[in-house]
């Protein structure tokens, strides 16, 4: 039980922190952390295949997309 | 004709920088009439629920409409292409639909 609570707290804090960042690269990384947290929850909820997909797509591919978009645009929000 | 003059003056004040034509004014007046008449008739549909409620709603509607003239220009301003307004109305609608259907379905 305690590990579930921990994972949920990490996921939610990561997703809230995502929205508070000024640095967009940190946004990419934190969204990856939150997606991996959800993947762990999927594993706990008896869905290992979904967890794998979520870990790859949400934890690796999406942050890379966002990072590429940042590279082509701007890194800091306020500029 | 005073209503028409008021209307024309209002629009001219509002869009004084741009040139106005008959088309804009006629469109605005037509839209105004459509909105007012159809809103009042739609409110009549409430009589299938309760007649008293219909009366109250119609009186409130008339007061709201009279105090907010001209409606069509205000509606037009609310429905421009800006994402902020669309997003706001989307979330509001989601809230209204879910709560209304959930509580009135029993």
């Amino acid at each position: 039980m305690i590990e579930v609570i921990l994972v949920i707290i990490v996921t939610l804090i990561a997703s809230i922190l995502t929205l508070l960042q000024e640095d967009l690269l940190k946004v990419a990384i934190l969204s990856g952390i939150s997606a991996v947290g959800i993947a762990v929850l999927f594993q706990i909820l008896l869905a290992p295949d979904v967890a794998l997909t979520q870990a790859i797509v949400g934890g690796a591919i999406t942050p890379v997309f966002i990072a590429l978009a940042i590279k082509k645009t701007q890194r800091m929000e306020g500029e | 004709m005073s209503y028409y003059d008021d209307f024309l003056n209002f629009i001219k004040e509002r869009y004084s920088k741009k040139h106005m034509t008959n088309e804009n004014v006629s469109g605005a007046i037509a839209s105004e009439l459509i909105v007012i008449s159809s809103l009042l008739i739609t409110a009549l549909l409430l009589r299938h629920i309760s007649v008293l409620l219909t009366g109250i709603v119609i009186i409130i509607l008339i007061m709201l409409i009279v105090s907010n003239l001209p409606l069509s220009i205000k509606l037009f301003d609310e429905q421009d292409d800006s994402l902020d307004k669309m997003m706001f109305y989307t979330v509001i609608t989601l809230g209204i639909i879910v709560s209304l259907i959930y509580w009135s379905g029993f």
């Binding site: - | 037509a30 008739i41 292409d81 997003m87 959930y102």
Partner: protein, 498 residues
């Protein structure tokens, strides 16, 4: 097993991929897409009615398996649909056939009026056709959701592929709003899946009407999922609060694109509306909710259309407003009114395609869509002006066109169902529609021609005139012989809605 039914979806997807493959060879894709566009309506025409179970997994009740235990044969499990099921009824036939005709005419006028055909645009068009055909064929909610998302992406793509200004902004707005609408629809579908254990609409309808509606607790869950699916439906069909983005989507696309876009959103609307009507018809506020949403759509759409000076935007708002009539038919809740609503949907699809294609020729000639800058175009092409005028009559509901028939049926149904207010609103909206047309036609064709009006092209391509003429003739035929469409629709509705 009828293999033409899945072919309606598979063939356009395959064709789209093939066209994308030959994207560089202009001549090849032109010939290829022309052939595909001809074959598409033919498939629909020759397919026979029936069900198609993917993988051949029929419900247990239809198979010859004997000796099953009683806990299967005595429960709902025995009649559940394990496979994705496509059902091809007269209703689906009519809708897909007309959609395919519109796709054919749009693609035909695109191919002949543009020198260089864009492979990606044709890819998107055929992908969209496949998506909406699958949506209206499918009996499976999740399948509908997947194709709904594909259709949303395709609509964005068609707007991106156009040359109008500000098209990227509009596409981005649509996608951002879609990331609220889509997940909410999915959430609604999943709640139904959780409480019934199936995503098949027939199964869900049976379970809701026999079990879930009886107990207040499970009814609350059904209501919650109805609210979410209703919200997703608003996004799919462009009812308020999504009417602004939908109409701006139509106006930011090429005219060939817009005529396909509006047909796509109409088919999406009809598919989800029928699904909702089948699942939730026993909920007492179902009809009221649909009715109110449709009336608000009509008022806002038409009152916004009246105030526009860009004629593409005008027709876009009008088409959103007229979609309200389809919802109105379902909101009234009788079989006659539903038939009228679906008939209006078909007319709406034809007439809006006519207007987008016909007035698209004005953009082709002058490269502007602002009524202020236009005028006197009747000297350029009288035939087009007359056909657009007839299209406007058809949309506003002037006899003997199809719009008159369907609107008359809806008003009649409203009076029969005891809602005279609805009839009055319908008449008001029709009058406003007519007003919009008089304004647009005067501005474009009859007003004296401004001195600074410059022409990009000298004459309208013959193919566009041909396409618009075909659509006008379809309007006239449906107006004179509405039985061609109403009889199959009402037959199919009798079987669908229990």
């Amino acid at each position: 097993m009828n293999y033409l039914i899945p072919l309606m979806v598979i063939f356009p997807i395959f064709a789209a991929l093939l066209i994308n493959l030959f994207g560089k060879h202009n001549k090849t894709i032109k010939i290829l897409s022309f052939i595909v566009a001809i074959i598409l309506p033919l498939i629909t025409l020759f397919a026979s009615y029936g069900l198609h179970f993917f993988g051949g997994h029929k419900p247990l009740i239809d198979t010859n398996i004997t000796g099953l235990p009683t806990y299967i044969t005595s429960t709902n499990l025995y009649s559940m649909h394990p496979a994705i099921t496509y059902s091809f009824t007269p209703l689906t036939k009519v809708f897909i056939f007309i959609m395919c005709i519109i796709v054919f005419l749009s693609v035909f006028s695109y191919l002949t009026s543009e020198k260089k055909a864009s492979g990606s645009f044709l890819f998107l068009v055929f992908m969209g056709t496949a998506a909406v055909s699958a949506m209206i064929l499918s009996d499976d909610l999740f399948n509908m959701y997947v194709f709904f998302e594909i259709a949303a992406l395709v609509q964005t793509g068609i707007v991106i592929a156009s040359k109008a200004e500000d098209n990227y902004e509009t596409a981005l707005k649509y996608m951002i709003l879609g990331s609220i609408g889509g997940p909410m629809l999915l959430l609604g579908i999943t709640i139904l899946l959780a409480i019934t254990g199936s995503v098949n609409i027939t199964d869900i309808a049976i379970i809701i009407s026999t079990v879930l509606i009886k107990s207040p607790i499970s009814k609350a869950v059904v209501l919650f999922s109805f609210a979410l699916i209703l919200f997703g439906w608003l996004y799919a069909s462009g009812f308020p609060p999504f009417h602004v983005i939908k109409s701006s989507l139509y106006s930011k696309s090429e005219s060939y694109g817009s005529s396909i876009l509006q047909a796509m959103s109409l088919l999406t609307l009809v598919a989800f509306l029928i699904a909702m009507a089948r699942m939730f018809y026993l909920i007492n506020i179902f009809n009221g909710a649909i009715l109110i949403v449709s009336i608000i759509a009509m008022i806002l759409g038409v009152s916004m259309a009246v105030m526009q000076t860009d004629f593409r935007r005008m027709i876009a708002y009008l088409s959103v407003g007229e979609l309200g009539f389809v919802g109105l038919g379902f909101g009234l809740g009788t079989k006659f009114s539903m038939t009228a609503g679906l008939f209006q949907g078909i007319n709406e699809m034809i007439v809006t395609a006519l207007l987008f294609l016909g007035l698209g020729s004005v953009v082709y000639l002058t490269n502007t869509s602002n009524i202020r800058k236009l005028g006197g175009l009747i000297s350029k092409s009288e035939s087009m002006a007359i056909m657009v005028l007839l299209g406007g009559f058809a949309m506003a509901g002037v006899p003997p066109f199809n719009g008159f028939r369907s609107k008359f049926m809806i008003i009649h149904a409203a009076l029969l169902a005891g809602y005279p207010e609805v009839a009055v609103i319908a008449i008001l909206i029709s009058i406003a529609t007519f007003f919009v047309f008089v304004k647009a036609l005067h501005g474009i064709y009859l007003k004296p021609q401004p001195n600074d009006l410059e022409f990009v092209h000298d004459s309208i391509p013959k193919s566009v005139i041909f396409s618009v003429a075909v659509l006008t003739i379809m309007c006239l035929i449906l107006g004179l012989y509405p039985e061609i469409v109403t009889v199959p629709i009402s037959q199919a509705l009798g079987g669908l809605i229990i």
